[in-house]
Amino acid sequence: MTEVTRAEHCVIACAEEWRGDGEVLASPMGVIPSVGARLARLTFAPDLLLTDGEALLVTPDGTVEGWLPYRQHLTLVTGGRRHVMMGASQLDRHGNQNISCVGPWERPSRQLLGVRGAPVNTLNNPTSYWVPRHSRRVFVERVDLVCGVGNDRAAGARYHCLRRVVSDLGVFDFGTPDRTMRLVAVHPGVTVEQVREATSFEPAVADEVAVTRAPTPAELRLIREVLDPGNARAREVAG
């Protein structure tokens, strides 16, 4: 087998986010989190629920096992039986996320998606983030509009739970005393210094920064032959 790519390490890092979650819906946004969620379901997290991205609950081979239209999906969010991995146009050290616009909200320089479900997601079900291009433009001191609620703004929110941030460079948790982003792992070939340089704020760094594990041969076969034979993952993360 050829060498494991960065994208494949990212798949593993994303998949690991759903380990131990039990019978909840894995909601991935982006190609690599989608491959990761299905990989987790096929291997170490067999109880996970998956959607087809529309209104159906499906097994990894596409067998329909349930109906989940938007209205029920929102109930599942507020009921907390879901772990979402959202994207982020901007993210700060506290985990505040922006997908709405860049610049002043009143008249943005770049209008993006809108707040979507980020406010309800972050107050109701475990939330992780996926950033396929780690850069200072994404990891900012202050986000222009808080859509997903960070730890510093979630006072009293009973079900607020930010888990992790996975980027194409590494993995962060919120394990500092003030629950800010802390680098806990880098992907093979990435240095801590590289992560620092690509981040606008100074991230906390764990005493021992791990290296993202490689996929097992069985996992690698699943990724390459079953889950993403068209190699869409390489278009999201090169190298």
Partner: protein, 278 residues
């Protein structure tokens, strides 16, 4: 037996400047585009549009018909950013009430249930509160004492939705996998206009799908419009998928050129221009 059938132009002729209009569907899915096109042909303007936004929002914004938009997003799904909505926002042309997807749903539910608001666990801690300074919170009267957003009812003057089948009395049936919130839009509105791919006899509805596919109830419906291809270029499963190629044309053609080429005439002219058989 009341026959509520009318043309799309008749339906929009009942709308007035400054009305609050809810538009069903989601993103670039099952949008009542024939009704939106009729709205574009009409002179109606100054609208407050309430929508899980797709090209309905983009087109009405590009044509300058929206005074205020109430929405959690605007997207074309396979093209993530709605280009005309985006341009309108970046030119500062659009007043926006931007709320979370769940807040929006709770607002429709409140209106449908004739409540002034519903409490929702969403929005707190986010900038939704800053950009909507009129939003109020409410404290649970029970022992938990938790604070929620009091999402105000999104009461609509009119709802526009598109379904697969309907009868002449206004019973509407969806045959795709997701009802979106079209029934709720109708229930939240004083008047509702339901376009459909095909008008069928009432007896045909139950033959076409299970009882739970009978989504829209006639007592909420003012007008029924037969509009084959009425969701084009958005999807209307299972009758047709999204016209991705045409959506790309929409997204990449300057608005005046697009409007001149495709929206100058009636619905039949639109279909001819698109090269689509009825």
């Amino acid at each position: 037996m009341p026959d509520k059938t009318m043309t799309a132009d008749e339906a929009v002729s009942r709308l007035r400047d400054g009305m609050t209009v809810g538009i069903g569907g989601w993103g670039s899915r099952r949008k009542p585009m024939a009704l939106v096109r009729a709205l574009l042909r009409s002179g109606v303007t100054g609208l407050t549009v309430v929508s899980y936004g797709g090209p309905d929002v983009g087109m009405l914004a590009a044509a300058g018909r929206i005074r205020r938009l109430v929405a959690p997003f605007a997207t074309l799904d396979s093209i993530p950013l709605e280009p005309h909505f985006r341009a309108a926002r970046e030119r500062g042309e659009l007043d926006l009430t931007e709320v979370d997807e769940a807040m929006f749903l709770w607002g429709l539910r409140a209106a449908a249930n004739r409540l002034p608001f519903l409490p929702v666990r969403a929005g707190l801690g986010s900038d939704v509160m800053r950009i909507n300074p009129g939003l109020r919170t409410v404290t649970s009267p029970y022992d938990d004492g938790e604070t929620f957003v009091a999402m105000p009812a999104l009461r609509l003057d009119a709802a526009l939705v598109h379904v697969n089948r309907a009868d002449r009395r206004g019973n509407g049936q969806y045959l795709g996998p997701d009802p979106y919130f079209d029934d709720l839009f109708c229930e939240a509105a004083d008047t509702a206009y339901v376009s459909c791919e095909r008008i069928v006899d009432t007896a045909e509805l139950a033959k076409g799908g299970p009882p739970q596919s009978l989504l829209v109830k006639r007592h909420r419906v003012t007008g029924v419009i037969e509009a084959p291809g009425g969701a084009h270029f958005t999807s209307c499963a299972p009758d047709y998928g999204r016209d991705e190629e045409f959506q790309r044309t929409y997204a990449t053609t300057p608005w005046p050129e697009f409007a001149a080429r495709y929206l100058g005439g009636d619905e039949q002219a639109y279909r001819a221009a698109v090269g689509r058989r009825p």
